[in-house]
């Protein structure tokens, strides 16, 4: 976006939380306060990995009332495209990064009489900020948190200490305790909202169970950040910018465009928000729509593509960008 409101930040602190999760605290370089945000919001962190620009979205997990800095937690993903490895291996206290303004695509419904939060693994992060907000506002909530093992799970002990076992339920895969989904969605008071964040299979399971139990879809909320999937390289021509480019195996169209100096709009970089919607001028192959934004009809018509996650198979794709 031409009008940048991104904020240069200093890494104030790095904490190893579990063997695969690190927490990073960011403070603004200019000493100004961070903008306030609402629980469920994320920021896009821009990293300079040896001249290569990497941009990854991360949920804000610190208290929404704390404008002295932002905390995020990053799971080290072994076969990652490089962002999480870079954060884990390269980023040290004192380093400089850039973070975007907060964006909330997973906001609580403020009308909710009660909020049920269901987290799997690193999907806990948006709920940390949400629970802080619920508890400050004296709103009823409960968290159901599934982890692989007690050593792998992040923050479960702190959450139990802070909110108590009545509101925090932990399910440990290694101990054969699983989310009692059917029981959770049963007999909830009218006006209850349910939120789920975690692996895709878990999100699908929770939503399906709740819908089958008769929940209105307006009361069900989920956040799935899709990392741009890898695939064979392909050619794209950006018509307005007059740029011919190759999108690499581990690159998204958006990332390739940015690497060629094209200032394309984006927000979530995960196929959810719709901001990077781009018109297709022509295509002699198959679009692989990986987003959850376009309708099935829009995907089938091939007129638009979400360039942050979707790919292409064919000789050449021409975009109105």
């Amino acid at each position: 976006m031409s009008l940048s409101t991104d904020m240069p930040v200093r890494v104030a602190d790095v904490t190893q939380v579990t063997d695969l999760v690190k927490r990073f605290r960011f403070e603004r370089l200019d000493g100004q306060p961070m903008p306030f945000f609402s629980g469920g919001a994320h920021v896009v962190v821009s990293m300079n990995d040896n001249g290569l620009l990497r941009r990854n979205p991360y949920s804000l997990m610190s208290s929404p009332d704390d404008n002295s800095g932002y905390d995020i937690s990053v799971l080290r993903v072994p076969n990652s495209r490089g962002g999480s490895i870079f954060m884990h291996e390269q980023v040290k206290p004192g380093d400089q990064l850039t973070v975007s303004q907060p964006v909330n695509l997973f906001a609580p419904d403020h009308r909710g009489r009660k909020h049920i939060l269901i987290a799997g693994g690193i999907g806990i992060t948006p709920f940390l900020a949400m629970m802080d907000q619920f508890s400050r506002d004296n709103v009823a909530f409960e968290l159901h948190y599934a982890i692989r093992s007690r050593t792998h799970g992040a923050y479960w002990q702190q959450l139990l200490d802070r909110y108590g076992a009545r509101r925090i339920k932990i399910y440990v895969d290694e101990e054969k305790s699983t989310l009692p989904l059917a029981t959770i969605v049963e007999n909830q008071p009218l006006g209850t909202h349910l939120y789920v964040c975690g692996p895709a299979g878990m999100i699908d399971g929770v939503l399906l169970t709740a819908l089958q139990a008769g929940w209105p879809k307006e009361n069900l909320h989920s956040e799935r950040f899709l990392a741009p999937p890898a695939g064979l390289p392909f050619q794209v021509f950006l018509e307005k910018s007059n740029i011919h480019m190759t999108v690499g195996e581990h690159q998204s169209i958006l990332e390739a465009a940015e690497a060629h100096g094209c200032d394309a709009p984006y927000m979530c970089r995960g196929g959810a928000c719709g901001q990077c919607e781009t018109a297709v001028v022509s295509s002699d192959g198959m679009l692989e729509h990986n987003d959850i934004y376009l309708s099935d009809a829009e995907k089938a018509s091939g007129g638009k593509v979400m360039i942050c996650v979707s790919r292409f198979k064919g000789q050449q794709l021409v975009l109105q960008l």
Partner: protein, 346 residues
């Protein structure tokens, strides 16, 4: 910057007038010689000095009189200010935003000091000096949105975002162009825009909604909207239609220059940080045709725009009776020369 506030009325004897300085800073809405609906949004960033775009929350010479008029409207009809219960976080967002902008850009008139959650707000033009606890409504004489919007020019709607739509869930609306908050409260974006002609068919509202759902923090946006009003009346509400509707019949070729006012809304939209709601500010500016024709470019352009309007828009904006009178009167000031692009005076 120190503003000299005017003492004037927007009802009864209608003593409202614009100073020469205020005429030239008027947000003339037509950037060409014709008009059609469009998603005419642009970033709400600081613009030209001595224009209404100089500051993002504009305070002008009519501030004190407008706030007095608002107080009168509220006294007669408290339902002009409403907020659904889930909008409390958004109310505090609005209070913070308006106090910070007014204090930052008009330090001679407003001061905000913060000691943690303990805030002191000084509004010199209105003689207010209050200390309160941010987040605790019991420490203010009114709920937070009402408190601050009794001290800020423009109408204010707070729209909640959920289910991929926007919902009119709170507002302070006393200077409106014939719509009612009491009627619209709780409606979604498509519902409250229901009455607008033509724009639905050309997909304006689908695109505008998509755009607003992605409105980002720190990147407010704005557009101009317009209509015409007989007499400088701020409160042209459906509730009071019986008071202002008949005014249309009082316009004659002799008084049209004084009576008819171009009414421009500077609409700005802001993503609110704590609530994720959107603040929709509808700031109304009035200028009589007599005042407007002192700027030659506008004098040439306005009759051309009025001439070009489609019948649906003429009807929707209530111009059917008086448009020919206005065109006749204004055409004296149009020598047929070309006009320069853009809205600002030459």
């Amino acid at each position: 910057m120190t503003i000299t506030f005017k003492s004037e009325t927007f009802r009864d004897d209608f003593t409202f007038r614009n100073s020469l300085y205020n005429i030239r800073r008027f947000p003339f809405p037509f950037d060409r010689d014709d008009y059609m609906y469009s998603v005419n949004m642009e970033p709400h960033v600081r613009g030209k000095a001595d224009s209404v775009f100089e500051n993002l929350v504009d305070v002008d010479e009519h501030y004190v009189a407008e706030m007095q008029d608002r107080a009168k409207v509220l006294k007669e009809d408290p339902l002009r200010c409403q907020a659904l219960p889930h909008m409390m976080a958004a109310q505090w967002d609005v209070l913070e935003l308006l106090m910070e902008h007014q204090a930052q850009d008009y330090p001679a008139h407003f001061t905000l000091t913060k000691d943690g959650d303990r805030w002191r707000w000084i509004n010199r033009p209105m003689g207010i000096d209050d200390t309160f606890t941010f987040g605790d409504p019991s420490t203010l004489p009114y709920p937070p949105m009402e408190y601050i919007t009794r001290q800020a020019q423009g109408d204010f709607c707070i729209v909640d975002q959920r289910d991929n739509n926007l919902w009119m869930d709170a507002g302070m609306v006393t200077t409106q162009a014939d719509w009612s908050l009491d009627f619209d409260i709780g409606m979604n974006f498509m519902e409250w825009h229901g009455p607008v002609p033509l724009a639905h068919q050309i997909g304006i509202f689908d695109r505008a909604l998509k755009f607003l759902l992605n409105l980002q923090q720190g990147k407010p946006t704005r557009r101009l909207n317009w209509t015409m009003t007989v007499n400088p009346r701020l409160d042209t509400s459906p509730e009071n239609y019986h008071k202002w509707g008949p005014d249309r019949l009082t316009v004659t070729p002799e008084n049209v220059g004084q009576k008819m006012h171009l009414r421009v809304e500077l609409q700005s939209l802001w993503r609110l940080p704590r609530s994720n709601a959107i603040l929709f500010v509808i700031r109304c500016y009035l200028i009589s045709l007599e005042e407007l024709v002192t700027v030659p470019k506008w004098a040439r352009r306005l009759p051309r725009v009025l001439q070009s309007l489609p019948p649906e828009i003429i009807d929707y904006k209530g111009l059917t009776r008086n448009r020919p009178l206005m065109i006749d009167w204004l055409s004296k000031y149009d020598d047929g020369s070309p006009t320069s692009a853009g809205i600002h005076p030459d």
